[in-house]
């Protein structure tokens, strides 16, 4: 970070940029310190011990797996919507875009209760899916639904921006060269928007792993990692929850940094 400040100073050392850099430093430390402190105050042995705990391993695995499922489902249905929003103007488009962002802003517990009203055993979709043996309360399917609901906006917004950045005339030229709409989509639009779509998938996956409130309401059991952390904190207190929190933060950071680096690889700064 000192590099950053130094570099800013070199570019145009004036009082404003220095003030801005100092203010910015405060917020960066505010984000950085808690994460660093949690990770580094747990010794590697403690982290490893907690990794040996079957329940911890199982919860982390369940989080990764359910969030991945949610992302796959989200991609199948979300990427087409993103493409439509990027390419077409139609009355009510603003409304649709607003609706898609709503899951970010409503309280997670309220979202969980709203989902219960549709996917609960005695309701609408819940009953229908029950007939084919899928049950959303206290089940993996429930976790996936909760994660899908709160994380889908990230995928759609990012994919939309990606498609928007693809010159529509590239698609037009492709059509005049004899490509069908499908061929054009898979050979031109998708490869060119790929980076943004991948970044959106990463964000959606990570956001799914991070969810607590909606999952708690819909499916407290089987316990995903974020619920297990809360459970231990409530029952045994901070010291007992810490290694698991540290482990979880580490896992998320590694995944996030790795996939982000992959998504941005080759792109210029």
């Amino acid at each position: 970070m000192s590099h950053g400040v130094l570099s800013v100073r070199r570019v145009s050392a004036n009082k404003m940029t220095i003030t801005f850099a100092l203010l910015a430093l405060v917020i960066m430390l505010f984000v950085f310190l808690p994460l660093a402190k949690t990770i580094f105050s747990s010794s590697p042995t403690m982290l490893f011990d907690s990794l040996l705990d079957d329940k911890v391993r199982g919860a982390i695995w369940l989080s990764l797996y359910t969030a991945l499922l949610a992302t796959v489902v989200g991609a199948i249905f979300g990427i087409p919507l993103a493409y439509i929003l990027a390419r077409f103007d139609f009355p009510g488009k603003r409304t649709v875009e607003g609706l898609i962002d709503v899951p970010i802003v409503i309280p997670h517990t309220a979202a969980g209760i709203a989902l219960l009203f549709v996917f609960g055993r005695n309701f609408l979709a819940g009953k229908a899916f029950n007939l084919i043996g899928i049950n959303f309360v206290d089940s993996v399917a429930g976790i996936v639904i909760a994660m899908l609901f709160v994380s889908i906006p990230f995928l759609i917004d990012s994919a939309k921006e990606g498609f928007k950045a693809v010159d529509v005339r590239l698609e037009k030229v492709s059509r005049t060269l004899g490509a069908s709409p499908w061929q054009t989509f898979f050979r031109i639009s998708l490869p060119l928007a790929w980076r943004s779509i991948l970044a959106g998938n990463v964000m959606m996956w990570a956001r799914g792993i991070s969810e607590f409130g909606a999952v708690m309401i819909l499916a407290y059991h089987p316990m995903v990692a974020s619920i297990l952390v809360a459970d231990r904190f409530e029952e045994y207190g901070l010291d007992y929850a810490r290694p698991m929190a540290a482990l979880l933060i580490l896992v998320c950071l590694v995944i996030f940094i790795g996939l982000r680096a992959f998504a941005y690889s080759g792109e210029k700064t």
Partner: protein
């Protein structure tokens, strides 16, 4: 070969009304109009890339108004090339051929034909981002030609290029047209480009076609002030034809009398091209019917040529080469004679 009938396109900012024209097999057809006149929209409508509200498009006797673009066999080349940035030059060129699942040898044969035609063999492995403007436009042409389109639509293909590359690509375009005998429709806002390339020119303005004709007709006989200004007849006057015999009329422009060949009478417009005026320091003895005396009130140096404003009054704009300018030792406020033929004055 291509017929556009009463085509209307409404796109908010752009509005095309009742566009009708037809292009013959093998013709190099130019659509000339100012920026923002909806020329690109018109091309995209012909290619099937815009929904058409009203009107019809026919190709070789078949109506294609609502046919999907991939079934029309109409190639498009844009001003800024629009190459697929994730594919190499070679992959760009064979994109359409691979879609057709042609056998490998056939694809290779077409590729080498195009590479030879446009002289781009050294570019094949490059990515579009590394090409110059002229190289990019050649690749875009090769890509459009790869699927052997019946018609090639060119959307201001020279506008984004440096002057050097512009001349080069202009030359290529004519060569390709002559060699392949392909039908070309090109839109441009540049009159010189239109004259240099087009067999026929359709001048478009305010959403309508203003005039269709050979470059000679547009140049010499503009049918409206809009076309005249666009065709760079800088000298446009309003006046009145008093009388005269059938062969030659006398036109009053302000206090000045000018001879012209016209059968029109009454209030008219007259246009006179700057390069049709001969400048001399002494009155010339010649067959030309008009010889006016004026003073150089302004000199615009264009490098190889100069534009003189000669005040009679009114003001005339005259074009001279640097060569004759220096020969005659012209300067501002010098008195000169302007000689031009009665037939050079176009009345409308």
């Amino acid at each position: 070969m291509i017929e556009v009938k009463n085509l209307s396109v409404d796109l908010g900012d752009f509005l095309l009304k009742d566009i009708t024209f037809d292009v013959k097999q093998g013709e190099y057809y130019i659509i000339l109009g100012p920026t923002g006149a909806g020329k690109t929209v018109l091309l995209e409508s012909i290619a099937g890339l815009h929904p058409i509200r009203k009107g019809e498009i026919w190709l070789n006797g078949k109506e294609i108004t609502n046919l999907e673009p991939e079934r029309r066999g109409i190639g498009v080349v844009y001003q800024d090339y629009v190459l697929f940035p994730h594919l190499s030059v070679k992959e760009n060129i064979v994109f359409g051929l691979r879609l057709r699942r042609q056998p490998r040898q056939e694809i290779e044969a077409t590729l080498s034909w195009l590479v030879e035609l446009l002289n781009i063999s050294h570019l094949l492995q490059r990515k579009p981002g590394t090409l110059s403007g002229g190289e990019s436009q050649k690749v875009a042409l090769a890509r459009a030609l790869s699927v052997k389109p019946a018609v090639l639509l060119l959307d201001e293909p020279l506008s984004a290029l440096d002057p050097g590359a512009r001349e080069d690509i202009q030359h290529e375009l004519r060569r390709i047209h002559d060699r392949l005998n392909i039908t070309v429709i090109q839109v441009t806002h540049d009159f010189e480009e239109a004259v240099a390339l087009g067999h026929r020119i359709a001048v478009i303005g305010e959403g309508r076609i203003m005039q269709i004709g050979t470059s000679e007709q547009i140049f010499r006989q503009p049918n409206s002030e809009f076309v005249a200004r666009f065709a760079m007849s800088r000298n446009i006057f309003s006046g009145e034809v008093r009388d005269g015999d059938e062969e030659c009329a006398v036109i009053n422009i302000g206090d000045m009398e000018v001879a012209a060949v016209t059968e029109l009478r009454g209030e008219i417009h007259a246009s006179l091209r700057p390069e049709d005026i001969l400048i001399s320091t002494e009155p010339l003895k010649s067959s030309a019917r008009n010889c006016l005396h004026g003073v150089i009130s302004r000199i615009d140096d264009r490098g190889s040529t100069l534009l003189l404003t000669v005040t009679v009054p009114p003001e005339f704009i005259c074009l001279v080469t640097r060569h004759s300018f220096e020969e005659m030792g012209l300067t501002e406020w010098k008195e000169v004679y302007m000689t031009f033929k009665a037939s050079a004055v176009h009345i409308f």
